[in-house]
């Protein structure tokens, strides 16, 4: 399978990439790792007339600690998230989610920003960033804007990113003492999640679900129940309250709802096991 013909632009800077997006309009797409876009193009489900390759834009893949946030460059690849000591120490949830994506070859190419921009509800990283309450930093003609992950995912493969904008950074709060958990159910090693869960604990717990709606979605009822003192096991029973899972050859909608409840319960067990409670009560870092 070969993509439909297109023209190629190699951007050497963020400015060049933004210029090319403006020049070529809605038919232009940014190309990073390409492991979401190129398969769609080979199936002719996507037929952009111009690809703007940003892989060789320098200095866009650093992962650094900045105060109580970890800042990830837009071109940070999944394998770089996995090997990052900063993530391992300060945001282990995001590292675990990156490690569960695809296989080593996919992780060598795929980028965090690309995964977020694609907005696939079946992808692991968008739900992880949503659970962490991360912020997506986006550059366009009018400068930089910060989009909270709660406002970023709008619909199936649809995000708040405008056609002439580029994700330059992803910022996630550090999350260790609050406890965290990530679970993914699939049948074959390298597959997308049939259902997945990313969760953080602490005083403001956040739980996000993979592949349970047209976007990555927060299990708000679970979060509310946890905050009001309901046990994690009982809270997990509410895991599918806000969801609209689909039926497909991998699972019926009902089975997905069941999986969500089971996986949320297990994930909350992991959160509790990892939570480090300070002497005066709740976990200290959230």
């Amino acid at each position: 399978m070969i993509p439909a013909p297109f023209s190629f632009v190699r951007a050497r800077s963020v400015d060049e990439a933004l210029d090319a997006l403006r020049e070529h309009g809605d038919d232009a797409k940014l190309l990073a790792g390409g492991h979401s876009l190129l398969p769609l193009m080979k199936l002719r489900l996507a037929t952009p007339s111009v690809l703007v390759d940003v892989n060789d834009v320098p200095d866009q893949s650093a992962i650094r600690l900045e105060g109580d946030e970890v800042v990830l460059g837009g071109l940070a690849r999944h394998c770089e998230l996995v090997s990052s000591d900063v993530l391992r120490e300060h945001v282990p949830l995001l590292r675990a989610a990156a490690e569960s994506v695809g296989d080593p070859q996919v992780r060598h190419r795929g980028t965090l920003a690309g995964s977020l921009a694609h907005g696939d509800p079946a992808s692991d990283l968008p739900a992880a960033v949503l659970a962490l309450g991360g912020t997506i930093m986006v550059r366009g003609a009018d400068g930089v804007r910060a989009i909270p992950s709660d406002d970023f995912f709008l619909g199936f493969l649809e995000t708040a990113l405008a056609a002439d904008e580029m994700i330059t950074e992803v910022r996630v709060p550090t999350c260790t003492d609050a406890g965290w958990g990530f679970a993914k159910f699939n049948r074959r090693a390298q597959d997308w999640a049939i259902v997945g869960v990313a969760a953080v604990g602490g005083a403001r717990p956040r739980v996000a679900l993979v592949n349970m709606a047209s976007t990555p979605v927060r299990a708000v009822s679970v979060e509310d129940a946890l905050r009001s003192g309901v046990s994690p096991a009982d809270a997990a029973d509410l895991a599918d309250a806000e969801t609209e899972p689909s039926s497909d050859r991998n699972a019926s909608a009902d089975f997905r709802r069941h999986l969500a409840r089971v996986l949320v319960r297990r994930t909350l067990d992991h959160v509790a096991a990892r939570e480090r409670v300070s002497p005066n009560g709740r976990a200290s870092d959230r």
Binding site: I2, F6, R10, P39, D53, C79, D103, Q105
Partner: protein, 173 residues
């Protein structure tokens, strides 16, 4: 600075240590570039959907599925195919290990398996069988089980460490 959009472009890629410069259509996939443009047919096309790993090559030393990379994306980068592992008539330690441990049956998945294994061994200092089973999740063999493949990769990785490959990598680290 303006950026020119082009349906055809010049790519300059170091393939198996030799620089090559070719004009390609923008939509040319790396796997078709190595097979059809360069005639290096050791790299196979399997599923063509980035699942099976038969098309695995190294891009700047890291395993990638060449059915899901554009040739244009390899411009100014280094690609290693299965042909590039052999030094003259001598098999690479990983290739030799696949022969010694009979880590293949029909052989179709083998070039991709070997390239993925070389990348895995380069990234992990002490590979054990469980690491290999996880690390080869992106490569499918449809002939038989993975037992001999796993044994081959463990042995090949050990031999890579023992021979100069590891010393070179440590020197450059």
């Amino acid at each position: 600075m303006t950026t020119e959009a082009a349906a055809e472009l010049v790519v300059r890629i170091t393939v198996n240590g030799s620089a090559t410069e070719q004009v390609v259509a923008a939509r040319t996939l790396l796997v078709h570039f190595v097979r059809d443009t360069l005639g290096l047919t050791g790299t196979n096309v399997g599923c063509d959907t980035s699942s099976c790993g038969a098309c695995t090559v190294l891009l700047d030393g890291r395993s990638v599925k060449s059915c899901t990379v554009l040739a244009a994306q390899a411009h100014d980068h280094a690609v290693t195919t299965i042909e590039g592992l052999t030094d003259g008539g001598t098999l690479h330690p990983m290739q030799q290990a696949f022969q010694t441990h009979h880590g293949l049956q029909c052989g179709y998945c083998t070039p991709g398996m070997v390239m993925a294994a070389v990348s895995l061994a380069t990234e992990h200092a002490d590979l054990v069988a469980d690491d290999v089973r996880v690390g080869l999740e992106g490569n499918l063999c449809r002939c038989t089980g993975y037992q001999n493949i796993v044994a081959a990769v463990v042995a090949g990785a050990r031999e890579m460490r023992r021979t100069s490959g590891t010393a070179d990598r440590e020197a450059s680290a």
